[in-house]
């Protein structure tokens, strides 16, 4: 895109493709019975984590959802340790104690994926409170879904953050489905961004499939937070391409609906079209990034599979600090 730094464009693409390839690999091996537990995929929503986290440094915090692989990757987590965690191996981020729903990397400010819908909201609010009290210039981003916007955690956190002017960004990924329940039958407002007004903060709607738009919207919110202006709500409109979890029979929608929407909204193909039509990034460059990412994911998969499972004695470590 004209006017965009080439390095940033490459970063956008690398991050989105890493998330996509990582997730496709996880899906394949979950379906093959090699990955236990629940897996919730982020495919089709890559532009959001990518656009938001490109505005953050490793000192900033994010708190994530049960659909957290994309957020972790975008925040800079190591894909090999992530893959090992998902496979339940000792070398994983949480030594095999968390799995897909609980990946965390505190060293890059990733405060954890959360198995409870809305769990991220007060945690990020508290991390922002700590940053403010310690006079650090850090900001915190709470990723949450449209379903979580109906939970008390959203309303209480938004109010508290606004009253205390905390450097937090409430980043709603509106993917139209709360588990199996469609947005229109579960949420009282047309746009979740409208709820910001009730808490005295800006509420912005952005096309969540457009990494450039997400980047710009998040940038404004991050600058506001970092400058002491307090919290913001950003609603990124997207669509959940995969089921709630891998194996979801998806009785609530048709395959045709999904395919039709994905053909129009896929943030990666859209990015490719945008950059190549303007010649901002060459086809060769895009292909070389893809190859490089594929190699990384292959390595991550091999690392996970070769890693040992935790020893049963590990059951009793980390219960207390």
């Amino acid at each position: 895109m004209v006017g965009w730094d080439e390095e940033l464009l490459c970063r956008f693409y690398r991050t989105m493709v890493t998330i996509r390839f990582f997730e496709q690999t996880v899906e394949k091996h979950f379906l093959a019975g090699e990955i236990p537990g629940f897996v919730h995929l982020y495919i089709g929503e890559e532009a959001i984590a990518t656009g938001v986290c490109a505005n953050l440094t490793t000192d900033d915090y994010i708190a994530s959802t049960h659909r957290g692989h994309g957020h972790s990757i975008a925040k800079g987590a190591d894909v090999s340790r992530m893959m090992a965690e998902i496979f339940g191996r000792k070398t994983g981020y949480c030594k095999g104690k968390g799995g897909s729903m609980h990946i965390a990397d505190f060293s890059v400010g990733m405060l954890g994926a959360n198995g409870v819908v809305g769990g991220s909201l007060p945690l990020a609010t508290g991390a922002a409170l700590a940053a403010k009290m310690l006079r650090q210039k850090r900001v915190a981003v709470a990723f949450f879904g449209d379903g979580a916007s109906n939970r008390g955690t959203f309303h209480e956190s938004a109010n508290l953050a606004s009253v205390w002017k905390l450097p937090v960004i409430f980043l709603c990924e509106n993917n139209q489905y709360a588990s199996t329940t469609p947005y229109r039958s579960s949420t009282s407002v047309e746009d979740i961004a409208d709820r910001a007004r009730g808490y005295g903060m800006p509420g912005v709607i952005v096309d969540g499939n457009d990494v450039f738009a997400v980047y710009e919207a998040a940038k404004a919110a991050v600058e506001r937070a970092r400058g002491g202006g307090g919290p913001s709500l950003v609603e990124a409109k997207t669509y959940r391409i995969k089921g709630h979890f891998v194996g979801d029979p998806e009785l609530y929608r048709s395959k045709e609906e999904v395919q039709e929407i994905f053909a129009k909204t896929d943030p990666i193909s859209r990015f490719e079209r945008q950059v190549s039509s303007e010649g901002s990034l060459s086809r060769e460059k895009l292909d070389s990034i893809k190859l490089e990412v594929q190699e990384l994911i292959d390595k991550a998969l091999a690392f996970a599979k070769e890693s040992p499972e935790p020893d049963p004695s590990e059951l009793f470590s980390d219960v207390y600090a």
Binding site: C94, L123, G152, W164
Partner: protein, 323 residues
């Protein structure tokens, strides 16, 4: 030794810890401008400012959740629940977040949060302002639960809780706040996980904690007149439970009674009885006695509340029947 109230003892603990460590702060409803409904925060804002003694909206979920987030961000928060009953509003944050984060993320970061929870019967406050819910938290790995019975322990346990890297639930009985007792000058630290043998004895072990310790001591003075010499253990911490002190005592006295204000069913007494049945059955010469509230919500009317309360006469007559 000087005598101060339980509330004053907790205040001293807060002052000393907030002075010692700048990362310690406290937040909750009505704590700063009002000083807490039991006076347990009076004077703190004047010393430390409203930034470190924070009045919050009525938002238990956000208070506990933000406390956890602040701990992850490098602070050491103390959060006040106003009444222990209101912890029900924040249970996800208490047991899915606070208690699990250290384990579930493979020990990456400790969660040093103290939750202060005023509990117990006082002033006919009825079903939603009087409960003793400590047993809920005994069932959750990752939490520590302390419950002092006197000013010295109140101070020492609160200081230890603030210094602990784990989440600690600190139950403080509302009826104890005005009670005076001796507190040593200087540093007072009571170790978490260690019960106290309050009164040595040889005829029966009585285990209790919190306000009920006072009820137990009343019962003991009557028992002594009858020539019965009980050993009394103040649990002080209910998770982790100090099994050794209990089992050693029962091995000596060969009888066991447990008394608490919470309902008997599924209570701390049930856990202690089970521990002794599993690990010390041979020591027992008599059935285990449990004294607790009946399985009913806390009532309002004076006569009903009195009937609900565990009384010294009940403990006396229950134990007397064993001899």
């Amino acid at each position: 030794m000087r005598e101060i109230t339980f509330a004053q003892a907790t205040l001293e603990a807060m002052e000393e810890e907030m002075t010692r460590d700048e990362r310690v702060f406290v937040m909750g409803e009505d704590i700063a401008r009002q000083g807490g409904i039991f006076g347990q925060f009076k004077g703190l804002p004047q010393k430390f400012g409203l930034d470190r003694v924070k009045d919050t909206p009525i938002s238990e979920t956000a208070i506990v959740g933000a406390g956890v987030g602040a701990a992850l961000g490098g602070m050491r928060p103390v959060v006040d629940m106003h009444f222990a009953d209101f912890m029900g509003v924040a249970m996800d944050e208490l047991f899915n977040q606070m208690a699990k984060i250290h384990f579930m993320f493979g020990g990456q970061r400790p969660v040093p949060v103290v939750v202060r929870a005023p509990d117990g019967l006082t002033n006919q406050a009825a079903a939603q302002h009087s409960q003793s819910i400590e047993a809920w938290f005994l069932h959750i790995p990752g939490l520590k639960v302390v419950i002092p019975s006197n000013p010295a322990d109140a101070k020492g346990l609160l200081k230890s809780a603030i210094r602990d890297d784990n989440p600690v639930i600190y139950f403080e009985h509302k009826r104890l706040f005005p009670v005076k007792g001796p507190v040593p000058d200087g540093e007072v630290l009571v170790p978490i996980g260690k019960a106290a043998v309050t009164k040595p004895g040889k005829d029966i072990t009585i285990v209790s904690y919190s306000y009920t310790m006072r009820v137990v001591m009343d019962a003991v003075s009557i028992l002594e007149k009858d020539g019965i010499d009980p050993e009394v253990i103040d649990l002080r911490t209910i998770s982790p439970i100090d099994k050794d002190t209990i089992l050693n005592s029962v091995a000596k006295t060969r009888k066991l009674a447990i008394a608490h204000e919470a309902v008997k069913q599924g209570g701390v007494g049930a856990e202690i009885a089970a521990i002794v049945a599993e690990e010390g059955l041979d020591y027992l010469d008599a059935p285990v006695l449990r004294f607790g509230a009946p399985f009913t919500p806390v009532p309002f009317a004076r006569t009903l509340e009195a009937a609900y309360r565990v009384k010294a006469e009940d403990i006396y007559s229950g134990i007397r029947a064993l001899f």
